[in-house]
Structures are given as C-alpha cells and as structure tokens.
Subunit: 470 residues, 2 copies
C-alpha cells in the first residue's frame, strides 16, 4: 500500500499577512483554486494504488485539514495531531506508526503540504522510478534539478548510479554561498533537497531506531498513548513534549547508508516567500502578477494581491510586493521578501493579533468576520455550514441581535427553539443561553450585532459543543 504522508505543520510566516498562525500558507489558495495542502493531497491521490493519506498537523489546524479534505471528498484520511511542533523527524515517525496500523508493509510518500509542483506528470514519473528502490529498502529522496544558483536550499551530491534514473546519496550539503551554488549548477551532480521522500514505513522506523534511538523510543511511547477522537488521532502532549525536535534529514537521511536520490524536474517551488510565489506564477506582459482588483499603470515585475472589496492602484513602481488583507497591508521589495518574518516578529513582540489571526476566523462550524466595531458594539458576519451548529453558550457582558441574510437558522434561546429565515431577526438578551444551528441545505449567513461593555472572544461560556470544545 502506498500511503501519502502530508506534512502540514509549517507556519509560513514569510507569507504574512496572508499566511498567519491560525491559517498558514499551506491552507491558502495561493496558486489556483485549491489550497497548497489540497493540491498536495490531489497530487498524491492521482498516483496509482495510492491509499488515503496520513496528515500530520498541529491541533490548531485540525478543522481546517478536515474541512479541506472533505471539500475534496476525502473522508477516510488519518489526521494525526502534533500537540507541540517537533520538526519533521518525529512527525514522519508518527505517520509511519499510524501507517503501519493500516498495512505492515506500507510504503510512505512524504510530501510537505506547502510546495507547488507545476509539472505533475514529471513528478509522477519520478515516484514510479523511486518505487522499486523503496521496495529494495532504499530511503529515497527526490532531488530537484537546479535551474538557478539558489542559496536558500540544501543540496544533495549524487554518488553512484542506481539504475538509469537514481543515485546513491553521496552527501547532503548545507545551504551554499553564491559562488559555491554557481559551481554546483555549472558542474552538475547536485540537486536541491526538496524534503519529499519515499520509503517503507518499517524501514524508516528501523533506521530511526538505529540512528536516533532516543527519538524513536520517545515517539513510540507518545504514539502508544494516542487517542482517536472524532476524526483525529490525538497524541498525548506530555509524552510528545519529551521527544527531541529534529529534522528527518539530520536524524536519518544524512546518517543512513541506504539514502538514494531520484532527480526530478517538475516545476517545483517551496514558495518560501512572496518573491518565490511571484517567480512560480504566470505573469503578464509587464512581468507583474496581479491578483484580484488591481489597476497597474507603468509598473513592472511586481506581485500585487488585492483583498476583497478594495481595489489596489499602483503607478510607476517596479519590483514590489503588495499584499492586502482585511486588517493588514504589506508593501515591500521583492528582494527583501525573505525579511517579512521580521515584521511578524515585531507583531509578536508587540502582542498584536495580526501575526496570528485574520479578521475572518474559521471555526469547525463555519466562520465569522468582524466587519465593524465601535466603543460598545461589534458587528460580525457569521457563516454556518450546512449541518453545523455553534456551541450552546451564553455571554456575561453582551447582548446579541441576529439578522438572517441567507439560508435558515434554527435558534435556541433559553427554553424556546424556533426557525429564522432570510430577512428575519431575533434578540438574545445578555445572559440568555443560546445556540445557532443550520439544518438547511444551503449555508446560513447572518449579521450579528453585539452590544455591551466588553466584547472579547473570551466572554463565552460553552455549555455543550459537538466539536469537543465545551
């Protein structure tokens, strides 16, 4: 059985303000209609004999993962929740243990969730070349054929050929300086280390046990106490916190005698920055990539992304990145795009929410967006998915008015239960116990006007919750 392992734990801070802690880049439709995570899943599903994936993600993103899988019609994935981040070594080890539950002979195709692959055919070919090697017990890494002297990636030096399309790994080399990278590019025999792998689950764990026995033991220990809850495999936080953080490269790949590389030229990008996304995107005649409602005059080599309901006009500018969102706007130079993480660091230091939360917040039941705010009021647009329900809740400091603008709501208010449809409204006095549910066939949209002296998200007492949050 070929089981895709989708590593979805990244934070993508360099793609702020679109990518944020609660909605990192892999869950965004940065290139095309599907999110990067969904594209990765679809890419893996397209392989013959591919089983449903094991997804490893942080607990915070579990509903995003479930929802984005569901939108693809995938309901049988294993979603393994890392209670704390521990880098790729422990994440892959967890996935391997989970895969072995399904098939003791499982082969794993490990794919980071936030990579873009332009040429899926070449990628599929490379997987087919790698499969026989994995069957022979090789730990195969996919090496990206360089087309530029990149200094932002590690490289793999090819050793002896293993058949016509693969090589032993002679060495993993760290990110080079510019001159060295130019040498690698000119001389050949080097590939970029993409972080994509193919190996038998059993074999990987055996190597880990031998090369990083402490990590192996700690992960095995943590996995033993895993609990399955709703669709999720929950790893015990205390146990997982004991695991040392390390990459699979350091823990296994650089030490094993059985590392192989299959070179591939597949339009790969790790979308490590806005500049990288610009480079990976189709561009217009002025070499601009314009997303959304953008008017560009006499401007070149720019990446401009407008947000909903606001146009962007650029005039006489070159080589800029402009990314607008509901609550934060970024303007930088493409060649400074790597430093966007400095902004995120400053926002963290200042305890500003913009590094973490979007104005529109996704919840298991749907989403809310704070569309206006005043001294003693807040207005939210709330969308409830078909079949979903908010928790049964009450507030100590605010009353709420609900006006349904689309779909139909079932409203619980203290002892009453009643329906509200489009253009109907109700009032929830301070302290009333209430719940909102969408029993209809279309999404429910409503406008909520909150009125009160304190309007923070933490003024909520959850009495019952179908998502385990009460």
């Amino acid at each position: 059985m070929l089981i895709p392992v989708i590593l979805s734990g990244g934070s993508g801070t360099r793609l702020w303000p679109l990518s944020r802690k609660n909605l990192p880049k892999q869950f965004l439709p940065l290139a095309g209609e599907l999110t990067l995570f969904q594209q990765t899943v679809v890419r893996a599903r397209a392989l013959p004999d591919s089983a449903s994936p094991v997804v490893v993600c942080s607990e915070e993103h579990r509903f995003l993962v479930a929802e984005q899988l569901q939108a693809l019609g995938i309901t049988d994935a294993s979603i393994v929740l890392e209670p704390v981040p521990r880098n790729t070594g422990p994440a892959i080890a967890l996935a391997a243990l989970q895969a072995l539950q399904r098939d003791p002979e499982a082969t794993l195709l490990v794919l980071p969730a936030d990579h873009l692959i332009g040429d899926a055919g070449n990628f599929t070919d490379a997987v087919h070349k790698a499969l026989p090697l994995a069957a022979e017990g090789w730990l195969v890494t996919f090496g990206i054929r360089p087309d530029a002297p990149e200094t932002g990636f590690g490289y793999i030096r090819r050793g002896d050929a293993l058949g016509s399309d693969a090589f032993r790994v002679e060495a993993f080399v760290e990110k080079p300086d510019r001159a060295t990278a130019e040498g690698y590019l000119a001389g050949g025999g080097y590939d970029w280390n993409s972080g994509m792998f193919l190996f038998q689950a059993r074999r990987l764990l055996d190597e880990l046990a031998q090369l990083a026995p402490a990590m192996h033991a700690a992960v095995a220990d943590a996995y033993q106490s895993a609990k399955t809850d709703l669709d999720f495999v929950r790893i015990d936080q205390d146990a997982f916190a004991q695991v040392e953080a390390d990459s699979i490269d350091y823990a296994v790949m650089e030490k094993t005698a059985r590392a192989a590389v299959v070179p591939v030229h597949c339009g790969w990008s790790d979308i490590g920055s806005w500049d990288a996304l610009w480079a990976a995107s189709e561009r217009d005649a002025a070499d601009n990539r314009l997303e959304g409602d953008v008017l560009a005059l006499d401007s070149h080599h720019c990446y401009v992304r407008a947000s909903d309901r606001r146009m962007v006009a650029v005039l006489g500018v070159d080589d800029l990145v402009i990314v607008d969102t509901a609550d934060a706007l970024l303007v930088t130079r493409r060649d400074r795009a790597q430093d966007v993480k400095q902004i995120v660091e400053q926002l963290k230091t200042g305890e500003r929410p913009e590094h973490r939360l979007h104005r529109k917040v996704y919840r298991p039941w749907g989403s809310y967006d704070s569309i206006d705010m005043g001294e003693r009021f807040q207005v939210k647009r709330i969308v409830v998915k078909v079949g979903a329900a908010l928790s049964l809740q009450k507030h100590h400091h605010r009353a709420e008015h609900w006006i349904v603008v689309s779909g139909t709501a079932e409203v619980t208010r203290d002892q009453e239960v009643f329906m509200l449809s489009e253009n109907e409204s109700t009032y929830l006095p301070l302290g009333s116990v209430h719940r909102l549910r969408n029993l209809g066939k279309v999404p429910l949209e409503l406008i909520e006007v909150q009125s009160g002296s304190y309007l923070g998200e933490d003024d909520i007492v959850r009495l019952e919750d179908v998502y385990g949050r009460a």
Copy 2:
C-alpha cells in the same frame, strides 16, 4: 470691512484615493486636526477686523461646508453655490457681489481653501502690508518667495517698489522649464503666483467690467437671479452656465495696470500632490511621514497613510507614497505623484465609483458607511447628528433592520412613532414609510441591515425632507 473669500471649488484629484469628487482635499484633515478648508477659515478669522467669510463652493459640497463651518462655531458665513464650475474669475466675481451686499466698501481677502500655510504670523504680516495698497485701489497678489526651482507654478516678476514691502507686478509668467526656474531662483525678483489676493470688491468688479466685460455682465446677470435657501446663496444654473470659464489671473490680473505683489515667506504649499504633502509635513528620523497604524522597517523618504482598522507594514522601501482607504489603496513613487490623476481618469472611464465616492458617504444629516455586502444584503453603519433627521422615505426593493448601538432614535414607521435606544432594534418591511430622527443630545449610531433583491442608493422615494431633497 475685511471679508475673507474662501474658494472651495477644487477637485484635488491628485490626492486620490483620499480626495474624491464628493469629498475633495480641502475638506480633509490632511495636516492636523482641522481640514484645509477649516484651517483657511481660521487663518482668515484671526486677522483683526475680519468679518465672517464668503465661501464659494459647488452645490455638491454645500453641507460639508456648512458642517465644517459650524464645527468652528461660524454660523453667519455666506455660502455661494456654483451650479457649474467656471474657474476662479466668475467665482471671485460672485463673492464680490455677495460681499457688496454686506458692505459697499468691502475689501476681499481671497484664499483658496486647499492651501497649507505653516507660518501664520508671516502671512498675517503680509496681509497687513497689503491692506494700505488695497485701500489705494491696488489689486494685490501674494507672491511666495521661492525656495526651490519649481516648474509646477506660474511666477510673478516684480517691477518697481511700492514702499518697502511691495512691488508693482511687471509680468505674470507661465510655468517655466527647469533651467528657467533655476534662473528665477538664482536671480531673485520672481515669486510664485499663489492665487491669494487682496483687493476692494468694488475695484475688482470695475476692473472686471473693463477688462472682461462679457464675464462681468454674465456673472452680474446670474447673481441677480440668486436665491437664498437655508444657509445657501443659490445661483441659477442656466444663467451661470452662460458665463465663460476663466481664471482671475487671465481675466483681470494679467491685464490690469494696478496689480501689485507682496512677497511672503510663510511655509506655503498648495499640496498639489502626495509628494507636496510629504514635503510640507514634519518627518521622522528616516525621513518618513507615517499617518495612522504604520510599521516601517528599513524604509526611507516615504509618505504612508493607513486607514482605520487596518495596519500597514512597509519593509525595505524608499521614496514611496502609500495611501490606504476603506475601498481603494494607492502605491506609487513620490516622483510620480503628479500622475495620480491618470488613475482617476481611468476609474472615470471605467465608471468605477472609487473616483467619486468614498465608502463612507456624508449627508446633511450625518453619514453612512457600507461595511459589508452580499448577494441580497448590505450592512451599513449610520450616524445621525444631534437634531438631524433623514427624509421620510420608502423603498421598493428592500426591507431594513435597524439596531441602535449608541444614542437614541425616534423612528417613524407608517402610522407609528416610537423611540429606540441602545441595544434596541426594529424592522421596516418593504414599502413601509419611515423616518429616522435624532432628538437626543449625543450622536445616534445604528447598524442597518438591508435585505432585498436590489440594494442601490437610487431605490429611495423621498416624501418629505428638511434639506430640500424631496
């Protein structure tokens, strides 16, 4: 009597997206708490013996002018409405006719509403130097002492001295090229033509009658049919449309034998572009002018203006103008700021509302802001001023929900009249005749949720209106 004439008809397209047709730059607080218009009025009021002003503006801006004057405690201004724009010649002639109604000996201090003057003391001194000349029948213009070889202004060549602080005007010269401007600056004897004047109303009209008799006759004719309505002097549209458009410079100043110039060095700027505003503003250690919630890293010589409720982060950029508003964002280079009007032209051509209207729209009774919109709904935040009332109205295609979030509303709904206070709501079915009034002592704020198949501003039947709009 010294009567200030505030010319408020400008459109300020180069300061888009903040300045728009329905709210041009003179009515914005671009530098300080007061708007440029208010600063101009205050500057004139500070002169000894200054009477209340005559304001000339377009009909569209009449309530803005009235409100901004009222905020300064000025209730006795004459507000003359130009039904169509005809440049400064006819506007000043109208103001002169209006001033003569108050005092046949009136002296006019003509000030464009959209200029910034940093050093009010020097400006006042210059007016005092000019007053005796005006009394002798001179038409005095204020010449700005150049501090740079500007190619964007006309210049005045000084002639013979008139006392120690003034000169005959030898010639008005057109905008020069760079080399000529450098010569003017180096050689001295030239001042920028600021568009500020001091003269007797009677004298100006006599000169106009002699030098531009057709304009004089047409303006006099139009003024004769003027009607005073509320606080406004309304000029008949058909009559005023007959007047030829021309500047006071061409019509009178360049032809009269009695033109004098009083040079002044008063930190003057016409704020003709974002670059000019940057130049006229105090800047930080990195030579940036940052307005609102801006995080600037490693950026220099920029003008950055954030809008409400959204932060702007800039990183590694120099010499940019970034201006954000609720529905449009501009990014350009400072040295291209003059070309912002190209964007406005494109928006006009595309019939996009962003060249004309802000998302927040001012009305005589207060304002509304469209905070959210969907397929069959729209959400507005409505503010009603103390003592103000919306028209008695109805809609054919929408129902409305009103939730009061601050203050108290008197609501008329068909036969009923009732009060709503904070955290109370009501529903106005499609077709109901309704009115909203603020009888309280604080502004009334409410959230309006509109529901219906057509939500355009033009679905309104006004049955009664205190502002003459029914």
